[in-house]
Amino acid sequence: MTIYFFYFFSFLIISSSILVISSNNAVHSVLYLIFTFFNSAILFLLMNAEFLAMTIVIVYVGAIAVLFLFVVMMLNITESEIKEGFLKYFPFGLILIAIFISELFLVFNFQNFPIPENVKINVNEAMLTESSNTKLIGLFLYTDYFIIFQISGFILLLAMIGAIVLAQSDERKLKSTSSINQKKVRKKDIIKLN
């Protein structure tokens, strides 16, 4: 039964992703992107990776898509008409991608998947202990994957520094009155000129 859900949502993902790249208006493409992420979150639920589904919804849909909207708004990207060169390249690109996909599919069904036995974290026994997916991830994330966790921390730190270095507009030097100081002015500090 879940197969039909799976096919339905994957069809939705594919169509919305195609719409993302082919829509003219930037805002539309961002909305389709959000829709894609939302569908993939549901797909993850189907593949019983609940925690990741939630993170996708929060992180991607919540933050990154919002960021894209920010940028689209900020950079005031107008309606962009189809460039004339577009059609000349489009079929060529399509053919290439068709070849690429056919290559991959040929490789895929070429193989019956040998299910390896020595799996590191066997979910089945863990499942027996009735712990939720998040708890399971939590168990391994901070002990076995400790170093990767710290490095991702540094990545976030780096992203922060990079954002500051790049995006910080140096208007700081501009002289601008801060409203807080104005309010704090006391009566006796003001010089009378009489």
Binding site: A49, L52, L67, L75, G93, L96, A126, S152
Partner: protein, 100 residues
Amino acid sequence: MEPFNFLILSSLLFSVGFLGIFINRKNLITILMSIELMLLSANINFIGFSDLLGDLSGQIFSLFILVVAAAEAAIGLAILTIFFKKSNSISVDSINRLKG
């Protein structure tokens, strides 16, 4: 559920992402979005396999992919804003001063 179908989905998504970068002439934002799509396809792949194998490391891997993708998107958009400030147009055709 045999691996065949989510592999199809992820490779299709990957190719759509690749196409997105290559085909569009419109603006850089679409490129960033198609990169997000390709990362999403990798995520789907990982989670599909982890579900198939009954192994948790795939999910943790995709969690980290997610984190990194977010950081990358942040940096990418920062670079984009600088580029926009300088050449006040982010159409792909405008970035061809460096060539030859």
